[in-house]
């Protein structure tokens, strides 16, 4: 072996020694995010939820009845995955060893279920009664026939489905898909990703201090029509406050809508849309840039952005009869807002506190 070969051998040895502590990090990086929610897993969440519901109905119905009579059952399925079926009077805390912080069993409760604080639950959780998640707990998936209450700074990492009402306390986070049969209420500073319900309430509901929407518009605004070299109504457009527009607005720049306007038609602006206070829009909104919506605005169509949607206080999206969708990479929504339908933040959604609201 000559000096060159020795040198190469030493160089590779030194590199191997240098890289050695980073091997677990590199492996994690190559494996990709395991906990993080991709768009695919989000779309699969509803399917997973329904599969879990079917599993409970088909495989666990008799065990739940047995647990109601005889008390808690602990066992494992054919694949060796452990599960706990809690009796009517049983409490999950009693089953946990002192100091244990992780629960790898699937939990099925025949009554109400209280998940203790700071516990990390790796498997699905089902309760026929209400589920209360204590502060700082981390749970993977929740399914309840009744209400679900998620405590302050608790986290749901995959999905949560309540057949009635889902309450998310201040600072809690639903990373994934959340759905409720009647209503979802998100407190301020709560984070979300995809929430679906006939009614979704954000933060404290305020008393109405001003007009929800101004129907007394001062006049009709006729947007300039430019076609050919520029799409639709030109590059940028500003609609003065208090005007009504009964036309579709398509722009290649920024659209600014003044306070108290009433737009009947679809809106599309490439670079962004700024909507003032007390605006009513009967139609869809789409922007490649960001969308800013002023306080007390009322929008009856879908709002879609490829960037960020910022919503001020007390806005209303859709109605119970006509649900709509808000979709963007990031959604920051003020307190007092109500949405009917779906709110989907692809990266991050948060209810912003009143003092931080735009």
């Amino acid at each position: 072996m000559n000096t060159l070969q020795n040198g190469l051998l030493l160089a590779s040895l030194c590199t191997a020694v240098g890289v050695l502590p980073f091997v677990p990090t590199l492996l994690t990086r190559l494996r990709g995010p395991r906990v993080g929610q991709t768009r695919q897993t989000l779309s699969d969440a509803s399917v997973q939820c329904e599969n879990f519901r079917r599993l409970i109905e088909n495989d666990f119905a008799s065990l739940i009845n047995l647990a109601r009579k005889n008390g808690t059952i602990r066992s494992a399925n054919d694949h060796g995955q452990p599960f706990i079926v809690l009796g009517f009077q049983s409490n999950l805390v009693e089953l946990l060893a002192p100091g244990s912080k992780r629960l790898r069993s699937c939990v099925i409760a025949s009554g109400h279920l209280d998940i203790p604080g700071e516990l990390i639950c790796d498997r699905e959780i089902f309760a026929e009664g209400q589920i209360n998640v204590a502060p700082h707990a981390v749970v993977k998936s929740l399914l309840s026939h009744r209400d679900i209450a998620i405590g302050p700074r608790a986290r749901v990492t995959r999905w949560a489905r309540s057949d009635r009402r889902l309450d998310v306390a201040e600072g809690a986070c639903i990373k994934g898909w959340a759905s409720a049969g009647i209503e979802i209420a998100l407190a301020r500073r709560a984070c979300f990703q995809k929430v679906l319900a006939p009614q979704i309430r954000f933060g404290r509901q305020q008393d109405q201090t001003g007009p929800r929407h101004n129907t007394d518009t001062t006049g009709r605004f006729e947007p300039p029509v430019r076609s050919g070299t520029r799409p639709g109504n030109g590059h940028d457009l500003q609609i003065p406050a208090g005007h009504a527009v009964k036309e579709d607005l398509i722009l290649s720049g920024v659209l600014v809508i003044g306070d108290g306007c009433h737009i009947i038609g679809q809106i599309r602006a490439e670079k962004g849309i700024r909507i003032g206070a007390d605006v009513r829009i009967d139609g869809a909104i789409h922007a490649n840039g960001g969308i800013e919506i002023g306080p007390r605005s009322c929008i009856s169509g879908p709002v879609v952005s490829n960037g960020k949607i910022t919503v001020a206080q007390a806005c209303v999206f859709g109605s119970t009869d006509e649900p709509c969708t808000l979709s963007a990479e990031t959604i920051m929504i003020g307190e007092g807002c109500v949405a009917h339908g779906t709110v989907h933040a692809l990266c991050r959604g948060e209810v912003i506190a009143e003092r931080n609201a735009p």
Binding site: N6, L10, V17, G18, P21, L96, S100
Partner: protein, 251 residues
């Protein structure tokens, strides 16, 4: 008014600390005992580490066929604590010539220009590295007009690694013990970090010597800044992060 609030806050903090110590005195005592034990163990193992360092360096330099690279142990503090020794290498690099300047400055420029083709994650680090290298080469090179010995560079590297090895129980007692209740795991993480640092030291010194032989002494400051203590800290953070991902007891 403000002073009253500050006093109340200070009182609350003291009360909180007292309560914390009272409720966790067993854990605190265990952590302190472990800190003292592991530091003592590091000190007792130091002669074995020194033997390994000398042996590894002699073997590797002989493999390289370097002309009389003086391998030996030198005390960290002259005249005090003579047993606290670190390995060093004596290898004389000639004064930087035009070739060294061209390689270093040209390499930095090419790296800066080609950083745009790299993945998004690496672009900024590569550009920062290039700019830093140019600064180091210009500032360091102007003061390096004579032949340079690697010995002070190697001694500094080894001293900082030795400090990190000896301080590792303290660092982990202040951080890891808060989130990891299991004592064996904490001891194992400390042993892993210290063991890796001790094991990698001769490889690091030889790696530096080879790189300096290729790039010239102008690259010495950049090598020290990026692949010296910073690399050690990164390695410790990587091992620590891996240790945090170890599964905890489950029901």
């Amino acid at each position: 008014m403000k002073s009253t609030q500050a006093q109340q806050r200070s009182h609350r903090q003291k009360h909180l600390l007292r309560e914390l110590l009272r409720s966790n005195w067993r854990g605190v005592a265990e952590t302190i005992a472990m800190l003292l034990g592991l530091t003592l163990a590091s000190g007792l193992l130091l002669p074995f580490m020194q033997t390994f360092w000398t042996f590894a360096l002699v073997q590797m330099t002989s493999l390289l066929g370097a002309e009389n690279p003086g391998v030996g142990l030198v005390p960290v503090f002259q005249g005090q604590w003579e047993r606290l020794q670190v390995p060093t290498l004596h290898y004389l690099f000639p004064a930087p010539n035009h070739h060294d300047w061209l390689i270093n400055l040209g390499g930095a420029t090419v790296t800066f220009l080609l950083a745009g083709l790299a993945p998004a994650l690496l672009r900024v680090p590569l550009r920062v590295l290039s700019v830093l290298h140019v600064f180091c080469v210009v500032l360091g090179g102007l003061g390096t007009q004579v032949a340079t010995d690697i010995a002070p560079h190697a001694k500094s590297l080894a001293t900082l690694t030795l400090c990190l090895i000896l301080l590792m129980p303290l660092l982990l007692a202040l951080t890891h013990s808060i989130i990891e209740p299991r004592a064996p795991h904490r001891a194992w993480v400390c042993a892993l970090c210290s063991g890796y640092l001790a094991f990698s030291l001769p490889f690091k010194l030889i790696g530096h010597m080879v790189l300096l032989d290729l790039l010239g002494p102008l690259a010495m400051p950049t090598l020290f800044l990026l692949f010296g203590p910073a690399l050690d800290l990164l390695a410790v953070v990587a091992i620590y992060a891996w240790a945090l991902s170890w599964q905890q007891e489950a029901v």
